[in-house]
Amino acid sequence: MNIVKTIPIWFYIIMPMFLFAHGVPTGDQGYIQEIYGVHIIPFMYLGAKHMVTGYDHLLFLVGVIFFLYKVKDIGIYVSLFALGHSSTLLLGVFANIHINTFLIDAIIGLSIVYKALDNLGKFQEWIGVQPNTKISTFIFGLFHGFGLATKIIEFELDTNGLFTNLIAFNMGVEIGQVLALLAILILISHWRKHSSFIIYAYSANILLMVMGFGLTGYQLLGYFNS
């Protein structure tokens, strides 16, 4: 029952992965609890699914690539982000670091706000310096990884084959990220070709910020009500 309480409600609304009926979970968690040993491709699939259907990660990625035009730059930033979340995903699961999901998701919400402000150049304006965007992307990667780790811990993976399955899950996360990124990139490229891109770039980042704050507030409400 603990698990039911700690999963944010949007999880149920967006994707009905968990459906509890007297103690036996169904969906992805049910599947994971039914299998035993190493299952590389299924875990890759679950990692990719988590990334493609996790809109908080997607919003952050939109923020990151909003003003990145060169494939090389996109590669660098996404790799830094991936390096960050891979390390905390593995660390979190193996050290069994159980951070409250609401707090982690609230920080992820703030990371979206940060990125939107960064895109708008507000840090230069307000504090006079531009924070190193590479370092901040890496740091937010670390937070996103703890979020992933908490989800994995909730899945209650068996210790048999845990390491291999986790590596597979992590690879899946990267594959899912690349797929999501390519889709976002194609959509945003269509937009960039129009003059409306630069006209509405400001509003778009404000909208990102609204969603980031909304997400943070929502998660904090969940935290104080849990």
């Binding site: 007297h22 103690g23 036996v24 979970p25 039914e34 491709i41 035009y69």
Partner: protein
């Protein structure tokens, strides 16, 4: 106003490149959906790729779990309403001892429950013959109470024993599922305070 300049022509893909990318993306998405997502989520595998990757099995397990949860819910409700009447005629639980033997076919599940009062305790032991089982030792309150608790669970386990105290009035016991390709036999011994032992229909 921004951290970056607006894109120059060189930074952007040409219209024909972008058109091509969009078309390719569309087809990749369709292929992924048909070959990967549909098998992994619904157990339907039109291309055979899902089977090859082991994802069809995932979809089959998920679909069956969902189906069985729905069926189980209906059966369970019915079962509880029958037993509630019986419960009223029994004032006190008795010390009971049962030896139950049953077999579970491949991919099948069985649930055996003891009707217990809050705080009463039962000693148990079970062993399997033919392979390990996934199990979940849990309790469910009477209909309407919405109480549920998991005492213990495990995967591919060949035997277990111990003691548990009922956290609330209701049904407490085991759910076993056989994920082997062969039938598994289980011998369960229960000893303690309970009204009755009951096998719950699970299909």
């Amino acid at each position: 106003m921004f951290n970056k300049q607006k894109p120059s022509e060189n930074d952007l893909p040409t219209s024909s490149q972008l058109f091509k990318s969009t078309i390719i993306a569309f087809f990749v998405a369709v292929v992924l959906l048909v070959c990967i997502v549909i098998p992994a989520e619904y157990g339907t595998d039109p291309t055979g790729v899902g089977q090859l990757l082991g994802l069809k099995r995932m979809g089959e397990i998920k679909t069956k779990l969902k189906q069985k949860t729905l069926n189980e819910k209906n059966n369970f409700d019915e079962h509880i309403s029958i037993n509630r009447d019986m419960r009223e005629s029994i004032v006190k639980s008795k010390i009971k001892n049962n030896l139950t033997e049953f077999s579970i076919g491949p991919d099948e599940a069985i649930e055996i429950k003891l009707e217990m009062q809050t705080g009463s305790s039962v000693k148990y032991s079970w062993t399997t013959n033919g392979g390990g089982l996934n199990y979940n030792l849990h309790g469910d309150g009477y209909i309407g109470s919405q109480k549920t608790i998991t005492y213990k669970k495990g995967r591919m386990t060949i035997s277990d024993n111990g003691e548990f105290n009922a956290e609330f009035d209701g049904y407490h016991g085991w759910f076993w599922r056989n994920r082997n390709s062969e039938t598994v036999t289980v011998v369960l011994e229960t000893d303690g305070h309970y009204f009755q032992i009951k096998r719950i229909k699970y299909d």
